[in-house]
Symmetry: C2
Subunit: 456 residues, 2 copies
Amino acid sequence: MTQRIYDQSRRDFFRKAAFAGLGLTLLPSIIEAKSEELTKVRLGFIGIGLRGSDHLALVLRRPDVEVTAICDIDASRIDIAQNMLKKAGRKPAQVFTGSETAYEKLLKQTDVDGVIIATPWLWHAPMAVAAMKAGKYTGLEVSAAISLQECWDLVNTHEETGVPLMILENVCYRRDIMAVLNMVRQNMFGELVYFHCGYQHDLRHVKFNDGKTVHASGAEFGEKALSEARWRTEHSVKQNADIYPTHGIGPIANYININRGNRFVSLTSSATKSRGLHNYVVAQGGEDHPNAKVDFKLGDIITTVINTANGENITLIHDTNLPRPYSLGFRVQGTKGLWMEDGNTMYLEGVSKPHEWESSLPYLEKYDHPLWKKYASLSEGASHGGMDFFVMNAFVEIIKRKAPAPLDVYDAATWSSITPLSEVSIAQSGAPQFFPDFTRGQWMKRKPVFAFGNDY
Amino acid sequence: MTQRIYDQSRRDFFRKAAFAGLGLTLLPSIIEAKSEELTKVRLGFIGIGLRGSDHLALVLRRPDVEVTAICDIDASRIDIAQNMLKKAGRKPAQVFTGSETAYEKLLKQTDVDGVIIATPWLWHAPMAVAAMKAGKYTGLEVSAAISLQECWDLVNTHEETGVPLMILENVCYRRDIMAVLNMVRQNMFGELVYFHCGYQHDLRHVKFNDGKTVHASGAEFGEKALSEARWRTEHSVKQNADIYPTHGIGPIANYININRGNRFVSLTSSATKSRGLHNYVVAQGGEDHPNAKVDFKLGDIITTVINTANGENITLIHDTNLPRPYSLGFRVQGTKGLWMEDGNTMYLEGVSKPHEWESSLPYLEKYDHPLWKKYASLSEGASHGGMDFFVMNAFVEIIKRKAPAPLDVYDAATWSSITPLSEVSIAQSGAPQFFPDFTRGQWMKRKPVFAFGNDY
């Protein structure tokens, strides 16, 4: 297996693909490579918490995937994962645990073609860099990186090694998002002009628990808490930024071909005061709870406005500290009309009654994306309304085909860079920050690749 | 009448009110002044186009208003207004026309207590300054000013003369907006944190016509066009800014007591490319129409994010060039929940089912504002869903009572300053612009006054 991964011709393919601008123009080489196609993909899991387990459950439904290695610092999560394997009639996976660097040993295994990294955010970039250096197809959970240097580390390592990194941004595959992508590509909205999106999700019960049960009541975070509250909440204590931008921005980036004929140029960000988390701690633990003294730096709502090279604007919102129903708040607007997620509304000039909204639901059904038509039944029961099936399917299929990633390292770096850029903008009263061009100019030549294929 | 308007004691009252911070604390003085209350208000109309006629129709329904003077450069509008007076059984008004400065003569009339200014935007501030100098209660249509200097001109003239200016921002009086104000004041949303608002109105048929009929098809603007297209469109040719901010920002400013305990601190603005107006010209007049060569500077969508002294953020949108149904897109969010206009949704923690939207409509009905309960039947048939009744009622009632304006010169200046500030921000890639403090620090002491009374 080591031999196969490090095979010089494949490495050359990776390099060529990375530098030449992956895309439709490369399909012939990808097709040529098909003779070498894998029939079975051997995956290693780095981080097997709640999110890693979601992915594990998905691949255990696939006969074309073998889970050969799992890594987590929490032994109880290892047990859960092995039980899942056992229940699925699979062989136990080799276990890597006991220290924060156990993943390095997993990456040395020759029976691992690709890894799925679903760990706390601070580990994402270092682990992904190590995985690419080890020649493993790298499936990286969102966000990919938390500093600009980490974004560059991902890009540089990919370009040095030629190993594909795929950012596992599941919302890109949401059914309505892909139906709208289908409509966008049929020019139904005309020339695209404006977007809203964001992450609007009351995470207070995720950021805090009682240290005994996950997602229950409680005012603890950090070492006294379980699961995400152990590490995720710290970002709300320390960072005043859009700390989770990809669920909103990923779908929009695909609509307007970011890094593939278009790019993000600049952003401005603004933060409200911070009230929600403190109030929640007091409501859960009382005014004398030690966490009632914590100064949560994260503003309750972060608003970021992004300018693109092609003249579109995107308003991106981060809203996780206040009571509210979940909504990513999408709006897609062009010269011929617009779609809004909230309220399920649509308006298309010359089609809709003048000046009147109509329901978007019949459109979403009519323009259901071909991939959803193909895979809807297979995706049933997959987490997050089925979209997780699609993102994992894409990751598995590109490994089988030795193909480039449809959501690649440039997407990962560009989308994730919103976090550090917004942090500086907020600290400077909203001063515009300019996106690095992680493609080093290749965005002018690269072609769109997302969801054009028959299989992923 | 001149005597009465220039009466020293009243002038002193004006001055005291202007400097001491108009508000609840001043109610005793206002009540004292009641002995001098007018039973009939004599109004002059400066600008009697479509908007001025709306206001004229409203005051003709009131026995406590006499229309003594009308001014317009367009003789056909004068005829229409005189006919309206006649049909209402009123005496003809004195006419001022024939030149752009005819309004100066109207302002010299002694039988005019207050004027309503509903003219092209470039005339708003100069006319309002002249009206205050002439001692006339000044009702000024939106926006009030287009440059920062004009904003200061309004404020300085008000402070020098003591004459109240009311910005006639009708959306502040919209029924749902006032119901939400009622809910805000009952603390139902908790501490307020975040807002969306804007002016999202497909104005293409307003910005262009055929020069023969208003609001019909056609690709003309400027001298070849009728009505608003004669002057309003020029702002879309020349300015890349939020050129019409008050319908969105007025209601929000009332919710968070701007200039009365709170203030706008800074904004950032961003503009999309400009496509909608050019496309419309081509669709209406063909590619060879002379206006197809016009370079419309106004981006199709302008997004402005405002920071306040109390830590709220407001996202304000200007969207008038693309096909879309009308919506001001309000969102009001606090620590206990939120209301969204689009989709008519509401969420209140501990009241709504957890994580689920409910309809806002029963709330809007239940919390109907006392002023709407009082005046709903009187407002029936008034333009813009009745809200125009309320704004005009307030203007008439303050003149009768010699009271300060509930939406005053500081509001007019602050809200209108968004236009020039956004223009600079856009020109500087979104660089933050800082609001002048038009109250010269008095915002720290001034108390909220909007819609607390029994009569307006």
